[in-house]
Symmetry: C3
Subunit: 410 residues, 3 copies
């Protein structure tokens, strides 16, 4: 493999690779450790990314594709959309020969792909490497995704989840179809996966010798904290509460009571989350999801339309929200606002809501005798939903309260 | 101890044992590892079953009883209803001499009791066995239960919980009286139990040498996943959410938000559980227990009548259900239907409910001026409970929606 | 350092120390192991108390202050209010010379401060001690707090949390201002803290060698069970549900569904907790916080007034309580009683409520046309809050039901 000596040579090299016939720039790519199946050692069960890239670092992508070109036997899966390659010592040697001008300065936040190659090369040069790999049941992979279509491989699924959780892509922007089919149901002990069939086959022996595992979850997805180091001011008080593939913005606090953040769901700014952000739901900056509050998700509850909650909203304790909300909205504690919930509004309040939402046609459409359904207020700003404690009527009015998070906490 | 050489001899042997005077066939029996008390080494704290049997494998039961007959000093507890026996090398040698014709074919799903003896015999023949046992603070037991009466021993309590969690018996079919008295409150680190008095006595030393345990729970019961390998398509996203003694059917998903499944409670088919299934409550196939939904249990909440939820029901997010439901029922999000909740029904809807429940006498009994209480609809099919959002009235009507789980998830 | 030989000499010594000019008696003090920062080894991240004292054991306090006087270079932090001192072999030798008459009888519950010195002295005399300390990244500290003002140090913050969780002080009696600023956001693996910046710097290497930690929480506070051995009959089914600084009385059961007990909050007697006791909220003996029930806290929800729930109350499943309650109150399942919730009461019921609360002026004040707000009933006994299922009206009446916990469970 050729060795590149200067950054200029590197630029020239990358350009030449990109100009090769058939060169495809990946959408995303990453370098990961994979856990291998205990039942079928050729099967990847999971992927843990040393580095993942999304629409970035095209030079590194070119290097890796060149390396793969020269090591075709390392290819494990190749299609129009996905490429999975085994990373071995030769792979890292070849990549580092090309990354040569950057090897020394690859520290801290610089040249993460080069750092990953440096680290793997160091490990693989160790004389006990094969034994270590065997004992740990692991291997290393390069995964490239060229188009955002149906997920084809385990490493591909994990790369998309990683891109979501590392905020490299927007929530709901990726095609996750197929992910439930691709990911295997696994028993997790910490971040180590076990296949249930392997556990079954070894159950008696493990129990007899007092080494039966204390399984912490059985799921197709791992936990967010098994992969992600949370950004500034994010706090997650219980790892079981956030699935890998969730996206949390700086200043998000996930309390342990009745909260949950599913994959492809999350927050866009500082927020207090003591309730459930179901799959595909998004919560805006400054909002408070009260204790036990539920935001319905696309996998169950809504009719398939994902729910966005705006900025500075308050979803009261044990409330249920089944419609999207704009900014500065309040859903009172204990009530349920579902798509088809009839909500009453006075003429005065309707006018105020219209003033707060000049672009909306709320109330200017013909209204049925039954009044409004909650979904007609979808996405409007400054709403306050309440159940009238004297008449039991569900009402909406223009909110007069400003929602503010406790600054000490975020 | 005699050695049996053929399967025919084995049959003859079993028949002869069963015909012995005073022979009692056990209702259930099992082979387990037990954790011993650190305070009193003669006390069993827990039991972890290599194999448990309930109304099955009577041949194996006969073998074990014969072995015990010849090893009376191994008996630790013996009463009309329970027999607990220490398993040592001599026990396994004797048992395997009788199981001889089956030893080789005891693999996979075949002859689990023989497999257990093979495995224990292998361990006990190891020269370091005594040291290993000492170091781990464990021992091995045979437990037999003859009648389903009040629980007498720790191993007996665990055998009943195991039978429930392995679906060997129906939920609510076992007498669990005495279980709270028999089981000791323990501090669990993974699946290793510590006595609180032992921790107290060693607290300073452990903290000083940085070996203080990260205790995960303090409870009389262990967690389901510390004992059970979940069946096909069962997913449990947080081990703290299911107690040992719960029963989960294939396709049950336990989400981590606000869910919980207590012992002697569970599901009868594929189901999505994001809420609480309290002690003695049962949820039918195809039902969805929404986020934060509560099904009241016999230990707190109901008047002692356990609640059954039928098939294809939907308990909305943060709803509370205090009455049994038939099939295809819906309780709307956020409402509470307790036994004595007055619910209004129109004549038209009452007729439709009657048509859906031809065997019920609902509405044909005299009705008080106050209308109906919720409990009068107990167990009926096709109900939809809702709070009228205009009048605040709690109403019930004939459901027009079919509840379906998301097939990808179960 | 002088050696004290008799208990009489010890008394004389203590008196002489207390009479020294400038002697200050501490409010609280403790002996702890600290985890050191991996980034800055001079920084204490946490404290784990071998023994903590609050308004007690002034003789021991005098001994420790004398030792510090003679070892000024061990002082790490000294102000009007807090003193933090490094404990090394010389410290323990000096302290034990003074504690000499009590060393032998310091076992079990006797002379815990002397026990702590004995244990630390034993460890520090070990020839591998420096290596052990280095490897574990730990050190030992004496912390003294003289006045209950703003928290200044990590060890000071932990001492106050410890005093709360060990019931050495009443809930809400300590000044915890500054605690969010002093405590660092940490990633916890069991009870071992990791700094997020250190994890970030080592992420790739750890992932590559399959030693990436399974982080269980990211929080400024540790968990209660990482520090406290629960008292008689306390059960905590999931360690993530109780923060360090919470106070649980004997017989408290914390279920794992939707419960949470924040710091500076807790229970005053046997209780069943399946819901949320937010920061500064207190629940009385015999009360039942139903599944998913929320008691609002001062950090979010209330206007700053902490909520006390009296004895023998029942907060129904998924209820929300935003006002203080007296004894024997019931909030029905699924309803929200917030400070400004209008609640209706009949004249008859108002009279009964007045009879049950002779010292209250409820209903004797002028009443607005709107009737009552919930907060006007704050702290009264024997109330039952309900939503009328026919009219949707929120009502309060004199409770006719006695709330009793299931005795088997507490």
């Amino acid at each position: 493999m050729e060795v590149i000596n200067t950054k200029e040579e590197f630029s020239t090299f990358v350009d030449s690779v990109k100009n090769e016939a058939g060169y495809k720039q990946p959408l995303g790519f990453g370098i990961c450790k994979v856990d291998l199946s205990r039942v079928n050692p050729d099967e990847d069960l999971t992927a843990n990314f040393l580095v993942s890239n999304w629409n970035e670092n095209n030079g590194s992508a070119a290097v890796f594709q060149k390396v793969v070109q020269n090591l075709p036997s390392n290819i494990l899966h190749q299609s129009e959309n996905e490429l999975v390659v085994n990373i071995d010592l030769e792979f890292t040697n070849s990549a580092l020969a090309l990354f040569n001008p950057f090897r020394e300065e690859a520290t801290g936040d610089n040249h993460l792909n080069v750092q990953a190659m440096n680290i793997l090369n160091g490990i693989m040069n160790h004389q006990d490497f094969e034994g270590f790999k065997e004992e740990n049941g692991i291997a290393y992979r390069l995964i490239m995704i060229y188009e955002d279509t149906v997920v084809e491989t385990v490493t591909g699924a994990y790369l998309k989840l990683d891109a979501l959780s590392k905020s490299k892509v927007k929530l709901r922007s990726l095609n996750l179809n197929g992910v439930f089919g691709i990911l295997k149901r696994l028993a997790w002990v910490g971040n180590t996966p076990f296949e249930l069939e392997w556990l079954k086959a070894n159950e008696m022996q493990l129990k007899a010798v007092n080494r039966y595992h204390a399984i912490e979850s059985v799921d197709k997805f791992p936990r967010y904290l098994h992969h992600i180091i949370p950004d500034e001011n994010i706090r997650i008080l219980d790892d079981s509460k956030v699935r890998y593939g969730a996206q949390l913005a700086k200043g998000t606090v996930i309390m342990p009571g009745a909260s949950y953040v599913n994959f492809n769901a999350g927050t866009e700014g500082p927020s207090m989350v003591e309730g459930r952000i179901s799959s595909s739901a998004i919560v805006g900056a400054g909002s408070d999801v009260g204790g036990g509050a539920s935001i319905l998700g696309v996998l169950s509850g809504t009719d398939g339309d994902p729910i966005t909650i705006g900025k500075n909203c308050l979803l009261g304790a044990n409330s249920v929200t089944g419609i999207p909300l704009g900014d500065g909205c309040i859903v009172d504690a204990g009530i349920a606002i579902l798509s088809k919930t009839p909500v009453h509004v006075t003429d005065t309040q309707l006018t105020k809501i219209q003033e707060a939402n000049p672009d909306s046609d709320i109330g200017r459409k013909s209204v049925t005798d039954d009044g409004f359904y909650a979904f007609e207020f979808s996405g409007l700003n400054g709403l306050h939903f309440r159940q009238n404690a004297t008449t039991g009527q569900m009402v909406v009015f223009r909110s007069t309260r400003e929602v503010k998070l406790n600054e000490d906490l975020h």
